[in-house]
């Protein structure tokens, strides 16, 4: 109760504080905090008679003086010990039941205040995010300029763009075969026939209607890849030193190649003798991505969309030598010479086939 009668006395600075102010910042903080917390209580207790206030002040003064005497009574050499004590007292003051210069009550008040503050901030940010989502369609991205022009990836891909294998040692190429087989599972003819429609080639497969309607996808059958489908040759030509490499163009929502001029793939030796690659077979034979696979409507509605592929069958490549190969996309709206990005519209890899 007695503490409740105290009041702020910031302007009054009794002499007994001087020592502490000079030397002991922590204690000083304590003292200040004391004041704080009292002020807070005062707010609730309302009006305090002046006389009692003064009495209280004196009492406090005496108390502080006592403290001071105690402080001085200790051996002076033990400054570290004293500092530790002060620190300890700052962390937990059993007498005033305060931790970090606040009482439990003060702490809980602070925590409640901060809880509400941050709760309202969270509400604000939630509102903002909600508004943000309102402006963003779930089916189509707002902008696609950063993801255009499309990038290119090849399969098999094993963390590296160097294809080193020895024809006579299956261990060196087996993982390519496994990777390709895995990748082509989604292209199995049966699956494609079951899930997707066979749409007319040579034109866009445009599906009007509401944005949120599910879109149909065009079939891209594994068998389109012929010799590289792994159906006839389960080793994709790796066992004969004629590896198949599949090329996939990155999906971009709404991307449409030029009408009548599908995106073509062409590979050649990037550096060195052009004759290192004597022949490449492309499957499908047009070496292009048919227009019927475009546009892409996004994964929400275009669930079964199957990315078209172009397989490159390197049937006659110089052996026992690293051959850098560059496969480029060609067509309108395709850029394949960005200096910084070596995967936009092109891909560079090396073939090193040992016999």
């Amino acid at each position: 109760m007695r503490r409740q009668l105290r009041s702020r006395r910031a302007p009054v600075f009794p002499h007994s504080y001087r020592y502490r102010l000079d030397d002991q910042d922590e204690v000083n903080q304590n003292y200040l905090a004391d004041e704080e917390e009292e002020a807070e209580e005062e707010a609730r207790v309302m009006v305090v008679p002046n006389l009692e206030e003064e009495e209280e002040e004196e009492e406090v003064k005496e108390e502080e003086e006592k403290d001071e005497e105690e402080g001085q009574g200790q051996p002076t050499g033990n400054t570290w010990w004293r500092k530790l004590q002060i620190m300890n007292e700052y962390l937990w003051d059993p007498e005033k039941r305060m931790s970090l210069a606040r009482t439990g009550q003060s702490w809980s008040l602070i925590l409640v205040i901060y809880f509400f503050f941050y709760a309202s901030l969270a509400a604000v940010i939630t509102l903002c995010m909600y508004t943000l989502f309102l402006t963003i369609g779930p089916y189509m991205p707002t902008f696609t300029e950063r993801v255009k022009p499309p990038g290119v990836m090849i399969r098999p891909f094993a963390h590296s763009l160097n294809f080193n294998f020895n024809v006579s040692e299956p261990d060196t190429w087996q993982h390519y075969v496994i990777s390709l087989n895995g990748f082509l599972q989604g292209y199995n003819d049966s699956l494609q026939e079951e899930m997707n429609v066979d749409c007319p080639p040579g034109q866009y497969f445009i599906q009007d209607g509401n944005e949120d309607e599910d879109k149909k996808a065009c079939q891209f059958k594994r068998s389109f890849l012929k010799n590289c489908s792994g159906l006839e040759d389960p080793t994709f030509g790796y066992s004969t030193g004629q590896p198949c490499i599949l090329l996939k163009m990155n999906r971009i929502v709404g991307f449409r190649p030029e009408l009548g001029d599908p995106v073509k793939v062409s590979c050649k030796v990037q550096r060195g003798d052009e004759n290192d690659i004597r022949s490449i077979n492309y499957y499908p034979e047009s070496a292009s991505f048919d227009l019927r696979y475009y546009p892409y409507y996004g994964k929400m509605t275009h669930v079964n969309y199957t990315s078209p592929l172009v397989a490159m069958h390197f049937t006659d490549v110089v052996k026992n030598q690293a051959v850098p190969v560059q496969c480029q996309l060609k067509g309108k709206g395709i850029i394949n010479d960005v200096i910084n990005d070596r995967f936009v519209g092109r891909v560079i890899f090396t073939l090193n086939i040992e016999t």
Binding site: R8, P11, F13, R18, L21, D22, N28, L32, E35, E36, E37, A39, E40, E42, A43, I110, Y114, F117, Y118, L121, V124, I125, C128, M129, L132, F133, I136, Y139, M140, P141, T142, F143, T144, R146, V147, P150, G151, V152, M153, F157, H159, S160, L161, K248, N250, R251, I252, V253, Y296, G298, K299, M300, H302, Y305, V338, N340, D341, R342, F343, V344
Partner: protein
């Protein structure tokens, strides 16, 4: 010993040598060995003297005046001619010591390079290079990003170092130029005229006049002295005043009495001397090299900033290390963790803080414009926390333009004309008493008109002499005509100048009456002192014995005039009997071989020194600013009280104990002391007071006037105030004030009236001697503190917004929202001009309405400031910036839900078909480019909200609308700079990918605007709360008012 409690301030570079000597001498010679035998001390002193003597080759003290004249080609009466002086000046150079060697510039520069946060950034840079080293050893083709980052960090340190160094050099220069603005003056006779010239222009052979309080401007051989005493402690260590005369008394030039040394102070009396050495050839100049070097004391601003730097650096390092550990335990690679560590350090360090020094030098300049010369920058800030001002009355509170207001003779009070341009006096001048009085007024006066002003109206002429003498001179010039002529006819044979112990001035003249061979002794001074010496009084031209009735009439008149707040002087004379004092009689003022009693009292004359018009206002300001103004004056209590009342030091409705007693018609003892608000304490009462009693007086009365105090008592008063834990500012002008000036927390010397000694001891010089300037100074001092707070709060806020991206990046695994380089562009790009702009912020309306800052309690960077900046505005800023970031990513295809834990895949170089929320596939470089767009977006987000932050930081308590949005134009320059820099970075340099900025769609610039407005509204609410519930916890004064 009190003198030693505060290190002497360096007045100007020339004096360093002398000052340091003083310090070492006293320190070694007295402090340490005081407890030991005194012999030791004597020995030390003697040794030192011998040591000095060996080096000094000086024999001018042995020469006679004639020999000196021939040696230096000069004339004792007419002085050098101007042409001669100019030639000598060209030959010998100015009379100044060459400045001592300072700390080499390179050392200063290097100090800036490793001080404060620089060391952290260096650590960051080195970590970068180490990281690259590790990368390189693993993979020879690793990117050079880390090398660049390290280089950028190093560059930042070097640039900020250069900036800080440049600022320091600039402020040092400002300080140096200030000390040149208070040059030492010397009164010199050249071309037979007295002239005041800068002491630097003195040459050998010049005849100079010095008086009590002056610093001796060069080594001089004394030719004429009058009770002259000097303080040689700076040279020889003898602290007791040494008397000086014209006689050659000792072979040793340091011992002989007829030489005065450069830089020593004349304590009292007057002297005329011939300059025999100037500049480096003076004794002090020869030994100055023995003790040079300036002690570098830390300024309070530095003291305030240092813990702040430590705290922020501590926070940076601990968060960095904490997250390093978290990152490592989250299975991040150590290398990546090091990069995080660097990012966190860079985010935490306010790189732009070097601008703080700009604030300081700006303020110093601004104060100089307002007639406050600050001798060291710390003084500005100390002045802001002043809680008691002990002010002089004369010149500070008043105009220091004494005007004769009343005369009393023949038992009558006459009014004199006090108007600005008085041409003649109209009172009755027929009485014989008036004839005598006017003669005393004209003769007993040392003031002289500056030559060459015959055409100037009398009241506007420049006079050499103190205020009341000037008033008397002008008065008699108006009444009698050519006073100088009268003085010439009545040749002065001896004189005792006025001093505060005697409180009278006396001179003895031959009369202009050729028949009357008697000497006329004339005296003026404090009326009661003068009356003490009188036995007769002149009424209607007739001498009458002084009896009780006449004495009572005198006291009535005296009290009446004094009660008007006027300075009353008593005048008396005595014709010395010709038989005792023949024409050849030699008067010796030291021995006083003439009568000093039984004089004839002639009359009283009172002068008014009207208060300066700006003072009452300034005092009201002080009062509302919680500053107690105490008047300390040597004047009569009644005068003091009257002036105190007229300027408001004693407010209109307060009464002293005596007033109450008088009003209630009871004895003073019966009055309840609690009722009295004001007190007038005289020097005599003060003398009898114990320390406790003085403390009681100082605490129990809000309005106090100390009257009739000696300068020594001023020191006691200052100490008393300091016992109340007050920050005390003291004004002073005399040489005797210097202990008090030094003892005070801030000593303020008068630029016009102040003696050199006072200016040396002071921290600040008031160029116009005006009290109102002190109040301006207080305001500026508080303003600089406030503005520093605002700058720091502004700078700290965005650190959270810079730090959060890293923490979210590590914990949630989103693509990095803000790059390290981008952080540097905020800290050193967009935020620099705004943080300087805050230094131009005008004061808030309450600046002079709040209590003075408690030096130890109210820190620059306190808990509320940090908490509010970091946990309130900082968090809000982060949210706003994240909103921009998420908007950009979401609109490009990566919704926030997709971003979570995307980091690992996102950063894999070989993944070139990363799927976004719409099933689109991204190459690595496309992602990187998007990431930079994210950086730019986050950057813009922070920038937009920093504009709001800048606007809210304009005030700490007032609403922005009270403060006015457009009063500080520089803020708008700051905002414009922020926007322009951001535009250039985003659009101008968008193609330079090394800086990680990309073109941003214009709409993203506005995403954070609602948040900026929210910040502003939130802060307005906080301020409103503080204003509505001042001091309450709920109102947040303690938690929210920084």
């Amino acid at each position: 010993m009190l003198l030693l409690q505060k290190t002497p301030r360096i007045y100007s570079v020339e004096l360093n040598g002398a000052k340091d000597m003083k310090q070492t001498d006293k320190g070694d010679g007295k402090d340490k060995y005081r407890g030991l035998q005194d012999n030791c001390l004597e020995l030390g002193k003697n040794q030192r003297k011998e040591h000095l003597t060996k080096e000094i080759d000086l024999d001018d003290h042995k020469l006679s005046n004639k020999e000196l004249e021939t040696k230096y080609h000069t004339n004792i009466v007419t002085g050098l001619s101007s042409t001669q002086a100019a030639e000598l000046l060209a030959r010998d150079g100015p009379n100044a010591l060459s400045p001592p060697k300072e700390t080499p510039e390179i050392i200063k520069f290097l100090k800036q390079m490793v001080g404060g946060f620089s060391i952290l950034l260096w650590a960051g840079a080195i970590l970068c290079w180490i990281a690259y080293g590790i990368q390189y050893s693993n993979d020879k083709s690793s990117s050079l990003d880390n090398v660049y980052l390290g280089a950028v960090l190093a560059l930042v340190v070097i640039l900020t170092g250069i900036f800080a160094y440049y600022q320091e050099a600039k402020s040092t220069n400002i300080m140096a130029s200030f000390s040149k603005m208070i040059p030492q003056q010397a009164l010199v006779i050249r071309d037979s005229e007295k002239k005041i010239i800068p002491a630097e222009q003195l040459v050998v052979g010049d005849i100079v006049e010095i008086k009590g309080g002056d610093q001796i401007p060069a080594d001089i051989r004394l030719l004429f002295t009058q009770g002259c005493k000097v303080d040689n402690s700076s040279l020889t260590g003898e602290s007791e005043p040494q008397s000086r005369s014209c006689e050659f008394t000792h072979d040793d030039p340091l011992e002989t009495k007829n030489i005065g040394f450069y830089s020593t102070t004349c304590l009292e009396g007057t002297a005329t001397g011939m300059v025999i050495n100037t500049g480096d050839r003076t004794i002090i100049g020869q030994i100055a090299s023995l003790a040079s070097g300036v002690g570098n004391e830390k300024t309070p601003i530095a003291i305030e900033i240092q813990p702040f730097v430590h705290i922020v650096a501590g926070v940076a390092v601990s968060i960095g290390v904490l997250f390093f550990i978290i990152a490592v335990s989250m299975k991040y690679r150590v290398l990546d963790s090091i990069i995080f560590l660097i990012g966190i350090i860079v985010a935490n360090v306010p790189e732009g803080l070097a601008t703080v020094t700009v604030t300081l030098s700006l303020t110093a300049k601004r104060m100089a414009k307002k007639n406050c010369l600050v001798k060291n920058l710390e003084a500005v800030e100390t002045l802001g926390s002043t809680s008691i001002i002990c002010s002089d009355k004369t010149g500070t509170l008043t105009q220091n333009r004494m005007t004769v207001a009343h005369l009393w003779f023949d038992n009558q009070i006459f009014m004199a004309d006090t108007s600005e341009d008085q041409l003649k006096q109209t009172f009755d001048q027929s009485s014989g008493t008036w004839a005598s009085l006017s003669k005393i007024i004209a003769l007993c006066n040392r003031a002289e008109f500056r030559p060459g002003q015959e055409r100037v109206p009398i009241m506007k002429r420049v006079v050499v002499g103190d205020a009341s003498e000037t008033a008397l001179l002008k008065f008699s010039e108006v009444v009698l005509g050519d006073v100088m002529e009268i003085r010439k006819r009545n040749h002065k044979v001896a004189e005792i100048p006025f001093n505060s112990t005697n409180k009278f001035q006396l001179s003895i003249h031959k009369t202009d009456d050729p028949i009357d061979k008697r000497f006329l002794m004339v005296m003026k001074g404090a009326p009661e002192k003068v009356l003490e010496k009188c036995s007769t009084i002149m009424v209607n031209g007739q001498e009458q014995p002084l009896n009780n009735t006449t004495a009572e009439a005198f006291y009535t008149a005296y009290m009446e005039l004094g009660g008007l707040g006027e300075r009353v002087l008593g005048f008396c004379h005595l014709y010395l009997p010709a038989d005792e004092f023949p024409e050849t009689y030699s008067f010796d003022v030291d021995a006083m071989n003439f009568p000093m009693s039984n004089l004839c009292f002639v009359g009283l004359l009172s002068m008014i020194d009207p208060p300066r018009s700006t003072v009452p206002d300034a005092i009201t300001k002080c009062r509302s600013a919680g500053i107690k103004v105490i008047m300390v004056t040597g004047d009569h209590p009644i005068t003091a009280k009257a002036i105190a009342k007229s300027v408001g030091i004693i407010s209109a409705n307060s009464e002293t104990v005596e007033d109450i007693a008088k009003r209630l018609n009871i004895a003073v003892e019966q009055v309840n002391k609690q009722d009295a608000k004001a007190a007038v304490v005289t020097g005599t009462e003060l003398k009898d007071m114990s320390e406790d009693q003085l403390d009681e007086v100082l605490t129990s009365y809000p309005e106090i006037v100390f009257a009739r105090t000696s300068p020594q008592q001023k020191l006691i008063i200052v100490e008393g105030c300091q016992r109340q834990d007050a920050v005390v500012a003291v004004t002073g002008d005399g040489v005797n004030d210097s202990p008090a000036l030094k003892k005070a927390d801030i000593g303020i010397a008068m630029g016009i009236a102040g003696s050199d000694a006072a200016k040396n001891a002071a921290d600040m010089v008031l160029l116009d001697d005006n009290f109102a300037s002190i109040v301006t100074g207080v305001e500026e001092g508080r303003l600089i503190f406030d503005n520093l707070k605002k700058t720091i709060a502004y700078t700290l806020t965005k650190n959270i917004a810079e730090l959060c991206p890293f923490l979210i990046y590590i914990i949630v695994g989103v693509p990095l929202p803000l790059g390290t380089i981008t952080i540097l562009f905020i800290d050193l790009g967009t935020d620099i001009v705004p943080s300087i702009a805050l230094a131009y912020e005008k004061a808030e309306s309450d600046i002079m309405n709040r209590k003075p800052r408690h030096k130890k309690k109210d820190r620059l960077v306190n808990e509320p400031l940090a908490v509010y900046s970091y946990l309130h505005i900082g968090i809000m800023q982060s949210l706003g910036a994240f909103l921009v970031y998420f908007t950009v990513y979401a609109q490009e295809g990566f919704r926030p839900s997709t971003l979570i834990n995307l980091r690992v895949e996102w950063e894999k170089d070989f993944v070139n078909n990363l799927e976004d929320s719409y099933g689109q596939e991204w190459t690595r470089y496309q992602r990187k480019y998007l990431e930079w767009t994210g950086y730019t977006a986050f950057f813009i987000g922070i920038m937009v909200q920093q504009i709001a932050d800048l606007i809210i930081r304009k005030t700490r308590r007032n609403s922005i609308f009270q403060q006015g949005l457009f009063r500080n134009k520089v803020i708008w320059v700051g905002i414009a700079s922020q926007i322009i820099i951001a535009l250039i970075l985003s659009y101008g340099l968008g193609s330079i990918t090394a800086l990680n900025f990309t073109m941003l769609r214009p709409q993203y610039w506005f995403v954070a605007v609602p948040h900026a407005i929210l910040i502003w509204v939130y802060d307005e609410m906080r301020k409103l709360f503080i204003r509505l519930y001042p001091g309450s916890k709920a109102g947040g004064d303690k938690n929210m008012y920084y």
